[in-house]
Amino acid sequence: MTPSFMRRDRVFDFLAPPLPPDALLDTSHGPILYLEDISVSFDGFKALDALNLYIDDGELRCIIGPNGAGKTTMMDVITGRTRPDAGSAWFGSRIDLLRLDEPAIAKAGIGRKFQKPTVFENLNVVENLELATHGDKAVWRTLVARMDAALRDAIEGVLATIGLEADAYREAGALSHGQKQWLEIGMLLMQRPRLLLLDEPVAGMTHEEIERTAELLQRLAGEHSVVVVEHDMEFVRSIARKVTVLHEGCVLVEGDMATVQADPRVIEVYLGE
């Protein structure tokens, strides 16, 4: 194979005009996320064992699995927090996630909600959303950044989506647990991500809050791709179109909820032993 710098049908890479970040993401082949043969081990323990997972553009996917199945490790790999020992991870067919660090991956369009709701407790709701806004996050730019009309509109839009209009100027630390979860989802939306990774978005929520969250996620799918890791089966059943069951670091079963629930291997993993 001719090395790329010797090929006569293309210019040198460094001469090519840089692609705008949005154009870099290429989902024309269908999937927005490709995880292939990903393995991660911690001191001999295989957290992920040759995991293969594909998420389609605009899909709402639920990932379930018993404790230690590797759900959080998988999110760590996608967001750049953990480097896998082997395998490849691509965002669209052009962005190699393994070559980017956390801020670069966030900028490329992947938003992540942590298992424990994590917001900036000493800032108010609007300030939390302001900091999450997409755009230049270099040091000098933030020093001179001003709240402009476009940003104000964006924040108002997200406030309406997550239903926190009335609490816009409350300190985030004073919000209820469920409201913090929503605020964190709102912060992800301000980033304008193409792929949302949500780690247990309804943990600690009341029944009514869970219903509202389910509704919110249904609305987000389509425009965004959403991956939900959840323990709450009731919730998964209410939103899931396609479910992936992880077990011991690899995919056990994939399919719609009914198929998954009927599968004897899943029943064994959840009820057996």
């Binding site: 801020p103 966030a106 900091l131």
Partner: protein, 359 residues
């Protein structure tokens, strides 16, 4: 200007500063010495010293109170700024030294050195010295911070290595072959920009410069804290990973604040040295940096004006205490720290705020 109007504590502080700036020079220069209202030159210099400490406290509050980086070595940047100014003052002595050498400072003649070391070049020019006052601490903070923050050293580990930094610098500056006067440091200064350092008017001018520096430093810090960068820095303090996954390069933000703070500390040190008349390796002592942390803790971290007030109050207490019961002072200081941590986690500023006072 809106941010300044909302900052009541800061306005009060600036107002007090303005009054002091008008009253003290008048009381020193105009009111005759036998009057009860006369303020001695000693007191003017003492106040000027407190103001330099207040600037140093502001610098620490920015990194500790807002960015959550507890530096236990901020005294090093203060001392480096002081040394840069001291080198200028040494070169100003010229032939008036004990040995009367036209170029070499006394201690170099004493050590039998033949020529000025290369790093002393340029310090005969004031603008160069001022440049170094900002550049040397800034550069050290930048390199040190780059290595530490990039390796994601945080919390107590970072505090310990900052402490090690100032300790290492102290040991280095103690050595005669470093060319900074060793144990004795730099002293016996004569004049600054041609003004006699012993003259009352010069002392008052230095005091006024310190007050001006404090006011400007306060406004600069307040502007930083009020900007989006200030909110990012608080965000990093409270939830570093969240900030990182939102796309902020957390290391760069810490580095920027750390470097900015070191430059401020250096400027404070540069104004401190001509007022106290000496700079020696003792300024690098870890104890100094720890005392600085206590000023900020007592005043109230994360408020800026609280830190500045804490610096002045604790140092005033120190001056009064050490005059009466010198051996008890360290116990008092320790007790102050323990009590303020236990009873006033947000310092005196927090107490005022709880009373429904300044915000």
């Amino acid at each position: 200007m809106r941010w300044l109007m909302a900052d009541k504590g800061g306005l009060v502080m600036l107002a007090v500063l303005a009054v002091v700036v008008i009253v003290v020079p008048l009381a020193n220069l105009v009111i005759p010495p036998d009057s009860a209202l006369h303020v001695s030159t000693y007191t003017v210099t003492l106040l000027g010293k407190y103001l330099c400490y207040a600037v140093l406290a502001l610098a620490l509050d920015l990194v500790w109170g807002y960015c959550g980086v507890l530096s236990l070595g901020h005294g090093a940047f203060f001392a480096l700024g002081g040394y840069a100014m001291g080198m200028y003052l040494m070169r100003q002595i010229g032939e008036r030294g004990v040995y009367g050498h036209p170029v070499l400072p006394d201690f170099m003649v004493f050590l039998d050195w033949q020529a000025l070391p290369w790093y002393w070049y340029g310090f005969d020019m004031f603008w160069f010295a001022v440049l170094m006052v900002a550049l040397v601490p800034g550069l050290l903070a930048f390199v040190f911070g780059w290595l530490a923050f990039r390796s994601r050293v945080t919390g107590v580990y970072l505090s310990i290595i900052t402490q090690a930094l100032t300790y290492a610098l102290m040991l280095a500056f103690f050595r005669n072959e470093m060319g900074f006067g060793g144990n004795n440091g730099l002293t016996d200064f004569k004049d600054l920009l041609g003004f006699d350092l012993q003259a009352d008017a010069t002392r008052v001018a230095l005091f006024l410069s310190s007050a001006l520096l404090l006011a400007l430093a306060y406004l600069a810090c307040r502007a930083v804290v009020g900007s989006r960068l200030g909110r990012v820095v608080v965000a990093v303090r409270d939830a570093e990973n969240r900030a990182r996954f939102l796309g902020y390069r957390v290391e760069y933000f810490k580095l920027w604040v750390f470097t900015f703070s070191a430059v401020l500390a250096g400027l404070a040190g540069a104004l401190y040295v001509p007022q106290v008349g000496i700079i020696n390796p003792g300024e690098f002592q870890p104890l100094n940096s720890i005392e600085l942390v206590i000023w900020v803790a007592v005043g109230g971290r994360g408020t800026l004006w609280g830190a500045a007030a804490g610096a002045v109050l604790v140092n005033y207490a120190k001056t009064s205490f050490t005059a009466v019961l010198p051996e008890v002072w360290l116990f008092a200081l320790g007790a102050l720290f323990v009590l303020s941590t236990l009873l006033l986690p947000r310092g005196l500023a927090g107490l005022l705020r709880r009373r429904g006072g300044a915000s």
